[in-house]
């Protein structure tokens, strides 16, 4: 009996965390009970990106996109939609402004401006079934490269496409390949950098989970182009699902002869091994990553020599990031000109961003280079949560910076973000609203960099620590004007005198917030106040006499009993003993308690 309907259930880490595996079981059970298993199939795919509304279930060919599916609604989907063809309205995405139900994925604003190249198969194919990847033209690019193109032609195509490294630096991929090709050696290596470490970033994880073969294919093509027969995927142990799917993919590809000796009957051989890292941020830096694979400490070394000349086991090595490799097969199949027609003058193609923070639609988006921050945050992201005011967006993780509202309309690419004192980074994008204190945000990222500094360079090891001490002083209300100058001087010194990218960029969150939100620093230092009401030490709680009705609720919740007053009379907070826990502020139903 032919298959007439498929239910695609998101199997990304995000949706699995909200129980999509159980949803899948319930759907299967329901279909079994209705004796429809020959006609209707349920399968798990990679990430759809719309993590905010997960678990996602997409019904094809009906083209109905269900959101926030739980066990109960899964039963209803079987009962109503699968058996009777009636759409389960309440699980269709509702546009918050117009309240209109949008049953088709393509009509949901979150997807409208997306162009999916690296994520082309995520949410579409079963990542654990190589046949589905092949059916979507998988390994055809490798086949074309091996049978029709010379390594030089492959490198030329990648160069002409304008593809730049998606891991952070943005170095032209074709040039990197060319440099490694030109290094003379009997043995060369390909490394896939899957050590994604920025807080809140999960682009690479989603690609590995949703379409692992695209990365393997990209690596094999790179291997052919530079003359390598072996590749490593360096992935962190915190990504168990990605590792699991990669293992399946590698063994299936070997079985099919798409990895291993004499691929597709040619004399090209290429195989891949997974190296699991312990999750140190520094190992995303290529020389530290190489040290880690070799069994040494994850510490960077001086460049030059670059890995293209002296890399893994002292052999020429080409390192690219997951998303970069995933872009390679479509470039070969559709042509360099197709790819370079998307994007801006110097940044071609698309970029995957992990949209997080105070935005309505948290999730993964792939957008053309040159899109504005406003489009990403407001059109795709659906604006700021709770109708609050946008304050800043942080791009590039701990190496990036905070971009304020006045630059929301900047078309983003590698160069414009650098010019704003931030960076593309691997694609983390964290949105902040009026309730976020920018000094505190800078402190958060600096704490991260302090933890993750490998300790090799004094500037980074000690400098970041001293900067953090100053920020702590400022947020505790003990800051002085000299501290701000010292902070800036330290930041510039750390930037200038660190060996690797971590130290060279770790002061960026401090510098960019000082540049765009200097008034907040001044408020902390001069007025000893935190405008966003975040830094506890600086908060003072008051009762507004005109609004207080004397209900005693605040006095009852105060854990240190410093709120006094008789019932039905105005209460007063004795600030001497106040521990600034904020309980009274959250309890008052009359808005009579304020904090400054």
């Amino acid at each position: 009996m032919p298959l007439r309907m498929e239910l695609l259930v998101c199997g990304g880490t995000g949706c699995q965390a909200s129980n999509s595996s159980r949803v899948l079981e319930v759907l299967r059970e329901g279909i079994q009970e209705a004796n429809l298993q020959e006609e209707v199939r349920v399968l798990m795919t990679g990430c759809f990106g719309f993590c905010e509304k997960g678990p996602i279930v997409k019904v094809m060919p009906d083209n109905i996109f269900y959101v926030e599916v739980d066990e109960e609604s899964a039963r209803k989907i079987v009962r109503e939609h699968v058996i009777k063809g009636r759409i389960v309205e309440e699980k269709i995405y509702k546009e918050p402004e117009t309240e209109e139900r949008l049953p088709e994925q393509s009509s949901i604003p979150f997807y409208k401006k997306q162009i999916r190249i690296a994520l082309r198969n995520c949410g579409k194919i079963d990542p654990e079934n190589i046949n589905e990847y092949i059916a979507s033209d998988g390994y055809m690019a490798l086949a074309r490269v091996l049978t029709e193109m010379t390594p030089e032609e492959v490198i030329d195509a990648v160069k002409r496409s304008g593809l730049r490294g998606r891991g952070g630096g943005g170095f032209p991929t074709g040039l990197k390949w060319e440099a490694t090709r030109k290094s003379k050696s009997d043995v060369k290596y390909i490394i896939c950098n899957a050590d994604e470490g920025d807080p809140g970033a999960f682009m690479d994880r989603s690609i590995l989970e949703g379409d692992p073969h695209s990365v393997l294919e990209g690596m094999a093509i790179a291997g052919y182009a530079i003359g390598a027969q072996f590749g490593y995927i360096y992935v962190r142990a915190e990504y168990p699902l990605a590792i699991h799917r990669l293992r399946i993919a590698i063994s299936q590809a070997r079985e099919m002869g798409l990895l291993g000796k004499n691929i597709l009957g040619t004399n090209f051989s290429f195989d891949v091994e997974i190296k699991i890292g312990a999750g140190a941020f520094i190992c995303g830096e290529e020389t530290a990553l190489i040290n880690s694979i070799e069994g040494g400490r994850g510490e960077p070394t001086v460049k030059p020599p670059y890995p293209a000349q002296v890399g893994l086991w002292k052999k020429p090595t080409n390192i690219n990031n997951v998303e970069t490799f995933a872009n390679v097969p479509p470039i070969i199949l559709n042509g360099a000109e197709w790819f370079s027609s998307i994007g801006t003058e110097k940044s071609k193609g698309t970029k995957v961003f992990a949209l997080a923070g105070k935005v309505n639609n948290v999730g993964l988006v792939e957008v053309p280079m040159g899109i504005t921050l406003r489009e990403i945050i407001y059109d795709l992201g659906g604006g700021i949560k709770g109708g609050k005011k946008f304050k800043a967006v942080q791009t590039g993780g701990p190496s990036g910076g905070c971009i304020p509202a006045e630059h929301l309309d900047t078309p983003i690419d590698y160069d414009t973000l650098n010019a704003l004192g931030s960076m593309m980074g691997s694609g983390g994008m964290i949105v902040m609203d009026e309730d976020d204190c920018m000094v505190n945000i800078a402190k958060f990222y600096l704490e991260f960099s302090c933890d993750e500094s490998c300790g090799r360079c004094t500037a980074c090891r000690v400098g970041n620590k001293r900067m953090l001490e100053i920020l702590n002083k400022i947020t505790e209300g003990k800051g002085e004007m000299e501290d701000l100058e010292m902070l800036k001087e330290l930041a510039e010194t750390v930037k200038d005198s660190s060996l690797c990218g971590l130290g060279q960029t770790s002061p960026n969150p401090v510098l960019s917030t000082m540049k765009f939100f200097y008034d907040e620093y001044l408020a902390h230092v001069k007025d000893k106040s935190c405008p966003a009401g975040v830094c506890t030490e600086l908060l003072k709680y008051y009762i507004i006499p005109e609004k207080c009705v004397g209900c005693t609720a605040c006095a009852k919740v105060c854990p240190v009993n410093v709120i006094h007053g008789e019932p039905r009379k105005v209460h007063v907070i004795d600030r001497e003993g106040c521990i600034k826990c904020g309980e009274c502020y959250r309890t008052c139903r009359f808005g009579a308690i304020t904090r400054k």
Binding site: M5, D62, T147, G257
Partner: protein, 121 residues
């Protein structure tokens, strides 16, 4: 073991069908089969499976078969609606498996409306 690009293409073409249903292209022909209680009671399940089978057999790539709810013609179930992009839909009544196959061959494939089975509301 795949030993050549031809073998790879064979596998691709073999599984291409599976993915066909997952392409949400808007300009495809849509064949809707009424699958409410009345439709199912009148045998709509056999009809839809026959239609899906025929679409495969005839190698029709530009059509999707979708089930739908009650269309209100309970006396004429199973009902099947054929929608060509940009044209007004044609609704057929009392479509059993055999009629379903014929609708695929004549109407969907060759564009011929089978007027004697068309329901007129």
């Amino acid at each position: 073991m795949i030993k050549s690009i031809e073998e790879l293409k064979q596998i691709r073409d073999k599984y291409k069908d599976v993915l066909q249903n997952r392409e949400a292209e808007e300009n495809k022909i849509r064949i809707l089969v009424g699958m409410a209680t009345c439709g199912i009671a009148a045998g709509a399940r056999d009809t839809i499976n026959a239609i899906v089978d025929e679409v495969h057999k005839e190698n029709i790539n530009n059509a999707v078969v979708v089930q739908t709810g009650c269309m209100g013609f309970c006396y004429a179930e199973p009902t099947v609606e054929v929608r060509f992009p940009g044209k007004s839909p044609v609704l057929y009544g009392k479509v059993d498996a055999e009629r379903g196959r014929e609708i695929v061959r004549r109407h969907v494939k060759n564009g011929e409306v089978i007027s004697e089975w068309v329901l007129k509301g």
